[in-house]
Amino acid sequence: MSLNDIVFIALAGITLLAALGVVLSRNIIHSALFLVLTFLGVAGIYFQLNAGFVGLVQIMVYAGAISVLIIFAIMLVMDVEPDQTNLFNQSTPTIMAGGYVSVLLAAGLAGAIWFTKWPLSAVQVGDQGVEKLAGMLLGPYVVSFEVAAILLLVAVFGAILLAKGVEDK
């Protein structure tokens, strides 16, 4: 087993265990914190794939910002005892339906990964990943990049408007 394999197994193990923690915790705050660990594990896998920039964006956006947002949202709306916020549904039909959907999803994903031909690009990016990415984003794809930015801006304005409400005069 090479060093690469050991690192991958460790990272994948951490990610999977943390993901299980998200599902199995009875306290929803614990679930949210396990979610942070899941994000960090995925970021580690990006690092191992030599996509350092993507990994860091993952850490900054998901682990650093979105998870804080999730935790804040939970804290603001929580009105029961913390350790009863993420309970299991005990009725058999719901468990059956949930199990069916998750098995189907897992099988579909596994099949898609297994049967897809993954073409290997001959281009070696090496250490220049960020420069290449910047060139692409502000070169051929500049329009879609800017449209995405404007879309986010509109979403932010919409959220503020919804939160504040319109003042009547």
């Binding site: 306290n27 914190l33 942070v36 682990a63 804080v68 935790i71």
Partner: protein, 345 residues
């Protein structure tokens, strides 16, 4: 003296490969050794720093500061450390135990992770990542989680309010922090720390990017929850914010992590704006230490001189002033680079 540490590292790798170890494993062991060395040096250094801050604050406020233990009270921090280590470890009964216990560990781990990319001399980065500066910002943004964990896990109103305040403050000030560093990145054309240092061989970036330096300094102070922006632990209102319920070594870990962050940010400031390890006569690793210590003293000076400001003032200062200014600085830098390139530089 200049290449003492680099040569030691090379010798270690050569010795390990000589023992019949594969090069990858030898490099891994070197990484671990380097990281442990950095952690030990940083933590030992902090005992000196705490003594220094007490002395500096005493000087500023016209009192003596620690003066009983050893010459100039130098052994005061050591005595404090022994006291904290031997104190009873109290976990209040109503806390969320798992979160309460892990929060200080998470905080200290994140703060030592910052040192991975800081060049501590010529060729003395632990890892010279091609996205080094971005690494520093994004790992730094994780420490909000630790404070949120401490605030929530303590199950105490003051703790939660302090945690919420620090999270709000850190999230707001992360934006001008990152934007102010962008000006430097635009001039260098790289996020790699060694490139940023090399680009300052003729002129320091503090001269080329004065606005960026000032916005960075202010947002770093807020990001570190240091005075005058230390509302998250404002003693008069919140006892000590997120740390209220912590005692003994767990509290000491938070304190240690705050100083670790402070040293890391000062070292980054020296690297990005003050030419890093470059300097005449002395070896490079000594220069970065001198520059870092000078910046640390400015932090001390500001903390002990200015009164604490109000929370809503702090937030509106970030969103309504610092962010527009740092955006304008990016625009100005871009226009400047374009004009200079047209003029044929």
């Amino acid at each position: 003296m200049e290449h003492f540490f680099v040569n030691t590292a090379h010798a270690l790798v050569a010795w390990l490969t000589g023992l019949g170890l594969a090069p990858g494993w030898a490099d891994l062991i070197l990484l671990v050794v380097q990281w442990i060395a950095v952690i030990i040096i940083v933590i030992l250094n902090i005992t000196v720093l705490i003594w220094l801050e007490r002395k500096v604050s005493g000087f500023i406020q016209q009192r003596l500061g620690p003066n009983r233990l050893g010459p100039f009270g130098m052994f005061q921090t050591i005595a404090d450390a022994i006291k904290l280590l031997t104190k009873e470890d109290i976990v209040p009964s109503q806390t969320d135990r798992m979160i309460f216990k892990t929060a200080p560990m998470v905080f200290i781990i994140i703060s030592v992770m910052l040192y991975v990319v800081i060049p501590m001399g010529d060729g003395m980065e632990i890892v010279d990542l091609n996205v080094g500066l971005f690494y520093f910002i994004s790992i730094g943004s994780l420490s909000t989680i630790a404070l949120l964990m401490a605030g929530w896990g303590s199950n105490n109103k003051w703790s939660l309010l302090g945690g919420m305040r620090s999270v709000a403050q850190m999230i707001s000030y992360e934006i001008p922090l990152a934007f102010s560093l962008l000006g430097v990145v635009m001039i260098t054309g790289s996020l790699r720390m060694s490139d940023i240092v090399a680009a300052q061989s003729n002129i320091w970036f503090v001269v080329l990017q004065p606005i960026a330096f000032i916005t960075y300094f202010i947002s770093a102070t807020a990001e570190l929850n240091r005075g005058p922006f230390d509302m998250p632990e404002a003693e008069q209102e919140l006892t000590s914010g997120a740390y209220t319920e912590y005692t003994g070594m767990r509290w000491a870990l938070f304190f240690l992590a705050e100083y670790t962050n402070l040293v890391a940010v000062s070292a980054l400031m020296a690297t990005v704006f003050f030419g890093g390890w470059q300097g005449p006569w002395l070896p490079s690793w000594l220069w970065i230490i001198i520059k870092t210590y000078l910046i640390l003293n400015v932090f001390f000076l500001i903390k002990w001189t200015f009164p604490r400001i109000r929370m809503d003032h702090l937030m509106s200062f970030s969103w309504k002033f610092l962010i527009p200014v740092s955006l304008a600085n990016i625009l100005l830098t871009g226009a400047g680079i374009e004009v200079l390139m047209r003029m044929g530089w």
